[in-house]
Symmetry: C2
Subunit: 287 residues, 2 copies
C-alpha cells in the first residue's frame, strides 16, 4: 500500500524512483519490528540495490508532519545537492489495531496510504516551509494508546516456548481511547499551542487559505474550529469518506484538496493535528 502510494506520488511528480535521494517512512503502525518501514518500502519500489537512504520517523498521527519537516531539514543542509528528491510516505493498516466490536472506536478509523516527493524550490516557485512547531504533553500518554506491539508485552514468554504471554491479551493490541479526557486536554492546550505556532492563530486564520487537519473526529474538528474562531469552510475534511487514517490522514486530506482544485500553488496552508502522546503539531507552508 505504501509502495502504491509512493508510485503514484513519483508519477505525479514526474520522478523516476531511481532518482530519489532519500526515503522517509512516517507511519504510526509499523509493518514489522525490524527492519523499519523505510527499507521495506525501498525494496517494494524495486530499489533494493540502489543504496538510497531509507529510515523512519514515528510520532503517531503526526508522523507525516515530522517526516516532512525532516525532509525539509535534509534538503536545507549545505551538503545536499540541488537536485535532491525525498520521498515521504505514510501507510497505515489501522484496522489491525482496532477491535471491530468496539462501537466507539471502530467506526472512526480507516486504512490508507499517502506519499509525496519534495525537493528544493527555486525562488521563482516560492514554495516554502515557514514554520514547524510541536509540543508533547505525556500526561495524556495513556489517553490514546495501543499498549502491545513492543517490549512491554512480548508475544512469548522467555521461559516457556509454547505459552503465549498472559499479559498479551487482545485488549493490549487494540486501540484504547478516553475520548472525553483527550478532548479536554486538546481544548486546554490547543489555543496556547496555536499561538506559539504563530501569534494570532488562536483567534483567526489570517492569510492562511486552507487548514489541512488530522482527521481525528468530526466533533473534535468542530470543537477546535469553534474554540479558535476559524471559518469552518477553510478546514478541509476527508473524515466522512476515509475516516481517521492515523499518520496518513493529513497527506490524504492534502491530496484531496489539491486534486479537487481547492488548493492552488502559492496558497498558504496550515497542516496541523494532534497525536497519541499527547502531541500537538503544526506546519505553515506555501504550497
Amino acid at each position: 500500500m505504501a509502495a502504491a502510494a509512493a508510485r503514484q506520488a513519483l508519477e505525479a511528480a514526474g520522478v523516476a524512483p531511481e532518482s530519489l535521494t532519500c526515503i522517509v517512512h512516517a507511519s504510526g503502525t509499523p509493518e514489522q519490528c525490524l527492519p523499519d518501514g523505510g527499507p521495506l518500502l525501498q525494496r517494494e519500489l524495486g530499489l533494493g540495490g540502489s543504496g538510497i537512504r531509507a529510515f523512519s520517523v514515528h510520532a503517531t498521527c503526526l508522523s507525516f508532519l515530522v517526516g516532512l519537516e525532516t525532509a525539509c531539514m535534509l534538503l536545507a543542509r549545505a551538503d545536499t545537492p540541488d537536485d535532491a528528491l525525498i520521498l515521504v510516505c505514510s501507510s497505515e493498516i489501522s484496522s489491525r489495531h482496532v477491535d471491530p466490536t468496539d462501537e466507539h472506536v471502530a467506526p472512526l478509523f480507516g486504512d490508507g496510504a499517502a506519499a509525496c516527493v519534495v525537493r528544493k524550490a527555486s525562488w521563482r516557485e516560492g514554495s516554502a516551509l515557514h514554520r514547524a512547531h510541536m509540543e508533547t504533553y505525556a500526561d495524556g500518554a495513556s489517553l490514546t494508546e495501543v499498549r502491545g506491539g513492543g517490549t512491554n508485552f512480548p508475544f512469548h514468554r522467555v521461559d516457556d516456548r509454547a505459552a503465549p504471554n498472559p499479559a498479551a491479551t487482545r485488549e493490549v493490541n487494540h486501540f484504547q481511547m478516553d475520548g472525553p479526557a483527550t478532548m479536554r486536554m486538546v481544548l486546554q492546550h490547543g489555543p496556547g499551542f496555536m499561538e506559539r505556532l504563530r501569534p494570532g492563530l488562536s483567534s483567526g486564520l489570517g492569510d492562511i487559505a486552507w487548514v489541512v487537519p488530522h482527521q481525528a473526529s468530526g466533533l473534535a474538528l468542530d470543537a477546535i474550529t469553534d474554540a479558535l474562531g476559524w471559518p469552518a469552510e477553510r478546514m478541509l475534511r476527508t473524515l466522512d469518506r476515509l475516516g481517521n487514517v492515523v499518520a496518513a490522514s493529513i497527506p490524504l486530506t492534502l491530496h484531496a484538496g489539491v486534486t479537487s482544485g481547492r488548493i492552488q500553488r502559492g496558497d498558504k496552508l496550515l497542516l496541523m493535528g494532534t497525536g497519541a502522546g499527547l502531541s500537538f503539531g503544526g506546519m505553515i507552508l506555501t504550497f
Copy 2:
C-alpha cells in the same frame, strides 16, 4: 531504563530536565505500538505537563545516528534559540526478541540504554558535526529481521476473539539472521560507502582519532578493520562486556570511550555501523 540513562546524561551535562527543548527517542525495539517512545520517555522523566516536543526515529541499529543527526539539524535551524537543549536516547531490551536457545544469536545481544544532551557549540568550543551519510540496500532486508511486532503479524485474528493468529509463531517475534550473507553484503558495499562518507576512508583513517562502531559482532569488526586497512587500536569496543545493544551500542561505546579518558574534547570521531535494512551509516564529528 531509557529514563535512567537520560537522567545520568542530564546530570553529566548539568541540565535540568525542564530545560530540555526536545526529546528524540532513537531505538530499534519499541516499548509499545502507540504512543511512540518519545512521549513515554517524557512521562518517565516527570515532564508530562511540560509540552517539550517528543518523537521517535527508527533506523534499527543506526537509530542513534539518525537521532543525533536530526537533533543537529533542529539545532542548526534558524528559529531554534541558542540555548536549545535536545535529549537523544536509545534504549533496547533486545532479549525480548532473542530466542535464548538460539546459540548463534543469543550470545551476541545485550540489553541497555544510553543518552546524550546536545546543544549548539560556541566557536570557542569547536564541537561540530562535519558529515552524516547513510545508504540502504534493502536487497538485504530479510537477512536480519524480526518479522513480528507489526501489522504483518497481528497478535489476534479479527474474526476470532479467542484464537491467536496462527502466523504469529514464536519465530516471527525473534531475531533471525543470515550472518554469512550479511557479512558478504557488508564487505561488498562497505568500502564504497566509506569512500562516499569521506574520500580516503576506504583505505585509512586519516585524522580521525577514534572510531566508535556499532558492536554487531567481533568477527564483523575485525573483517571491516582489515578490509579498510584501519589500525585496530583506534576501534573502540564494548562488545565483550555489553554485547550488541542494537541502537544503544554506538552511544554506549562512545560513553565508555569518554569515561575511560581515551576520547578527549577536540578529538575527531567517526561513529559508524550497519543496521538491519541493510543500511550503512556514518558520522564524522569533533567531540
